[in-house]
Symmetry: C5
Subunit: 99 residues, 5 copies
């Protein structure tokens, strides 16, 4: 999985039938210091993440292991909203404090 920030959303009406109802989030990968790395990805939302939140996303076939994405042509999913992360006992991100 990778750490990312929810930057925005992508809207599509003409899409593969099985994708109806999925919400597509535009994610910006972040490093451990919370800086955007420049890599972006579009992921389905499985947890109700909002713009500005730090999340974890999974890619590949693992992205289809949720009820929303099962058997759908979807290769990235937001599967967790991040509360915090720490390195060597130091909290580098804490939801609320660092948003």
């Amino acid at each position: 999985m990778n750490l990312a920030k929810v930057l925005g959303t992508v809207v599509s009406t003409r899409k593969e039938e099985s994708l109806r109802g999925l919400k597509f989030l535009l994610l910006g990968q972040v490093d451990t210091a919370r800086e955007l790395t420049g890599t972006t990805v579009v992921a389905a939302d499985a947890v109700g993440a909002g713009v500005g939140e730090m999340v974890l996303y999974a890619t590949g076939s693992s992205a289809r292991q949720t009820k929303l994405t099962d058997r759908r042509p979807c290769d990235a999913v937001v599967m967790a909203i991040v509360d915090s992360w720490e390195i060597g006992g130091r909290e580098l991100y804490k939801k609320g404090r660092d948003d």
Copy 2:
């Protein structure tokens, strides 16, 4: 998934039997500002996308989760035509206005 622009098409007559009928699109990845990143990929078309349109494509085994690509040696599929995307409330791409 990634954002891309349909640049053109690839034609092949000698191909794996199961691929007959698939249309191959030449895609150029774009960043959130709609600029081509230089990365290109060839994807099967599952939604009838046309040259110049902004699309989403999925890769890996997820690219086989459509009727057209099921059980075929195909690792990328265009599964959505993009209407718009926004970051922080600002619409950075809107179909028709920005094509």
Copy 3:
């Protein structure tokens, strides 16, 4: 999928049992202007491609969706020989003319 040129072949006699009979091609990725990008990959040949030909190859589990590669430890397959590609109505590669 990606566009590539068949550069040569790789020979191996000591290999996983299930790979007997597979031909391994050495591919050089090309950009849309037919220039080698420097990235090379070794792929099984599912279509009888020859050295110098432009091909499409698929990777990952999709590379096992042919009779030759089914259930084999093979992660890349040449699944099409390219006749031509075009961008914006301009034919950038045409087999025979540009080889």
Copy 4:
């Protein structure tokens, strides 16, 4: 698989239901000389690895081949704690001596 050092942990309470109980580790890839390469990844822990330990992690569908991660939207797993590695008969890392 890749060599990595366990840098820290990631905490998430709002996540896909099936992920309850999984521990997420923040890994920093290392080269053979034990230097961090700058690439980080978040992986589920299948072996009880601790901060500072050198580990191996697997990605993609292979990351779901453990009891903990089976059928879960998880694309990276720590599946081994490394004791040592050597190149050309020279031990470049030995647990205990080089931590």
Copy 5:
């Protein structure tokens, strides 16, 4: 698949139960001129490869298509020892002559 040279081995006693008995090789990717590219990967050995040998390795779910790696959390496998490769009729590597 990719060409690589077996650089050494990785030892792990605390690992996922299903991995017992697997031998982990430390591989250095090589280009077609036999030069190390700097990319390294750890792969299970399915063919009895020795240090210094040139090999092919497969990644992803394809790495599990051997008896040794089936259903195991292993995402890279050495599935062939290379005898030779050639580009445009010129043999750039021949086992024995170029080791």
